[in-house]
């Protein structure tokens, strides 16, 4: 078989089957590091085997069998050593000495992907470790690429991942899907990690464009997997809807040289209509499944924007209403700030200013650049060029993002020209 065809099949199997292969191997290996090594070896041996004998009908099944067999081999060889190592808590259901376990049908392998995801996003791990572990273990992204995605050095990221894995084994974080009672809370931790993954990719000016797009694609794939595996949990579909509707604007979000374009300045004909349609359908389904959670409500807000022909023709009262409901389930100052921005469109900038004054007293927003940036925009729209300029300067002091700074500088220059044209006060 041609080498490039095998390489392509292997790359595809890595993207779509890695989590399945690894999670099924963890159950046999009882140890994340051993399972990872065996899964990686399985992909390496597939290159030779598939070049000789062709790509198997079910590449995922082939890889899973290979990885699990490698794990069983290692366990038999190192049985004395293994006793000394801390094992993952849920015991292996496979006996490494039972030959029947060497040859099992694909269908009999339980889908352990959810166990893997819930273990990586366990609330007793640091939030940044959850996201890193999810990328590394669930998506199979090598550590140097994970480090690049989060703009930290490779040794820093390697240490972060090692520390998290060590806590999983030594503190005995169980390899299991939480029970019904704890599921919503634990799921929130998983969905938050996937959302953070997406946001990291979506934030303009943050690292290389190809790395960022890859992160968005990985997050979307994870959201799809979660929605498929836990359809009864409406928030999985809420998150998928939110990511689809946000990602639909990907091509329209930046102009030349990565310059950031706000919602109102985007060319809406460049929005991905197929993604919007899917996002709206998924979100409608989530909304119909009972009281909506925070991801579903955010998706609903993104949906209102996706359906609007322009910023001005957006159903702003509906957006404000959805923000009110969002605040009721997820009361954070950032949501309140976004609501205030929506009020400025629904009822005019003057109606939103008192809301911002109130938020300015919240210490959690003290260093948040979007607060002065929003105030600057309202003052600009009210014709207060001097006040707007002052707030733009404050926002520029606070932002660390190059694309956002460029945007703010441009706006500052505009209002400064306007202020210069005004008659001198007095």
């Amino acid at each position: 078989m041609r080498a490039d065809a095998v390489a392509a099949a292997l790359a595809q199997a890595h993207r779509s089957e890695w989590a399945f292969v690894l999670s099924a191997t963890v159950r046999v290996a009882g140890d994340l590091d051993l399972a990872e090594e065996c899964a990686q070896e399985a992909y390496v041996s597939a290159l030779q085997a598939w070049t000789r004998g062709g790509v198997p009908e079910r590449p995922g099944a082939w890889l899973t069998t290979a990885a699990r067999n490698k794990a069983l081999d290692r366990l038999r060889r190192e049985v004395t050593l293994r006793r000394k190592l801390p094992l993952l808590v849920e015991p292996a259901t496979v006996d490494p000495h039972d030959p029947a376990d060497l040859d099992w049908p694909y269908a009999a392998v339980p889908d352990d992907r959810l166990r893997l995801v819930f273990t990586c996003c366990h609330p007793t791990l640091a939030p940044e470790a959850r996201v890193a572990l999810t990328l590394r273990l669930v998506c199979g992204v090598p550590t140097p690429d994970v480090a690049r995605a989060f703009l930290v050095s490779e040794p820093t990221m390697a240490a972060r991942i090692t520390r998290a894995k060590k806590k999983i084994s030594e503190a005995r974080i169980p390899y299991r899907v939480p029970g019904r009672a704890e599921l919503p809370e634990r799921l929130d931790s998983v969905l938050t990690a996937v959302h953070l993954l997406f946001s990291t990719g979506h934030t303009a000016g943050q690292g290389d464009a190809p790395v960022r797009e890859e992160l968005c694609d990985r997050a979307l794939h994870l959201a799809r997997t979660l929605a498929a595996l836990l359809p009864e949990q409406a928030e999985t579909r809420g998150l998928l809807g939110l990511l689809l509707l946000t990602d639909a604007r990907r091509a329209a979000r930046t102009a030349e040289q990565g310059r950031l374009l706000l919602l109102g300045d985007q060319d809406r004909t460049r929005w991905d209509q197929r993604a919007i349609l899917e996002g709206l359908t998924v979100t409608a389904g989530a909304l119909a499944s009972g009281p909506p959670g925070r991801f579903t409500l955010q998706a609903a807000i993104a949906g209102v924007h996706a359906m609007a022909p322009s910023l001005e023709q957006t159903d702003w009262p509906r957006v404000v209403h959805l923000y009110d409901r969002l605040l009721a389930v997820w009361n954070t100052p950032v949501v309140a700030l976004n609501r205030a921005a929506a009020v400025a469109f629904a009822d005019g900038p003057a109606a939103a200013l008192p809301l911002l004054d109130e938020l300015a007293t919240d210490p959690r927003l003290a260093d948040y650049p979007y607060l002065p940036a929003t105030r600057a925009d309202l003052l600009r729209r009210l014709g207060d060029a001097a006040g707007a300029a002052e707030s733009y300067r404050r926002a520029m002091e606070l932002t660390a993002n190059a694309a956002e700074r460029t945007f703010l500088e441009q706006r500052l220059a505009e209002v400064s020209r306007a202020a210069g044209a005004e008659p001198a006060p007095g």
Binding site: R83, K84, L85, P86, L87, V89, H122, T124, E170, A171, R172, I173, P174, P178, E182
Partner: protein
């Protein structure tokens, strides 16, 4: 089952200023906690209350003896339990019930190293 230590951190001033009438409630809370450990399927492997940090003596580097705790913080280690639990989820479920009534107080859960399975 694995062993976990539950370390209770609280402001010692709470116990210095507590009224004699309030003590029985604290003692009852701990008795109730011990019952709950077993009710939740765990077990108790040990536990002690510690005298306040004002009574502590610190020896650094194996030589210099000084008055006071190793680290000066508002919240001090006031007591420990050692429990047996299935896994971290189970240990956290139990530890959430551990009394730490002083304002700002709380507990820390630490796995106890098992010398037969851990290659230290």
């Amino acid at each position: 089952m694995a062993k976990y230590a539950i370390l209770i951190y609280e402001d010692p001033a709470f116990y210095e200023n507590i009224s004699p009438e309030a003590w029985p409630a604290v003692v009852d809370a701990h008795s109730k906690f011990v019952e709950q450990v077993f009710a939740l399927g765990g077990s108790l492997a040990g536990g002690e209350a510690l005298a306040p940090p004002t009574t502590a003596t610190t020896i650094k580097g194996g030589g210099t003896v000084t008055d006071g705790p190793f680290v000066e913080t508002k919240e001090a280690l006031n007591g420990i339990y050692v429990i047996e639990a299935r896994d971290l989820d189970h240990a956290v479920e139990i530890a959430k019930l551990c009394p730490a009534p002083a304002p700002g107080g709380g507990v820390e859960v630490r796995p106890v190293v098992d010398p037969t399975t851990n290659p230290f």
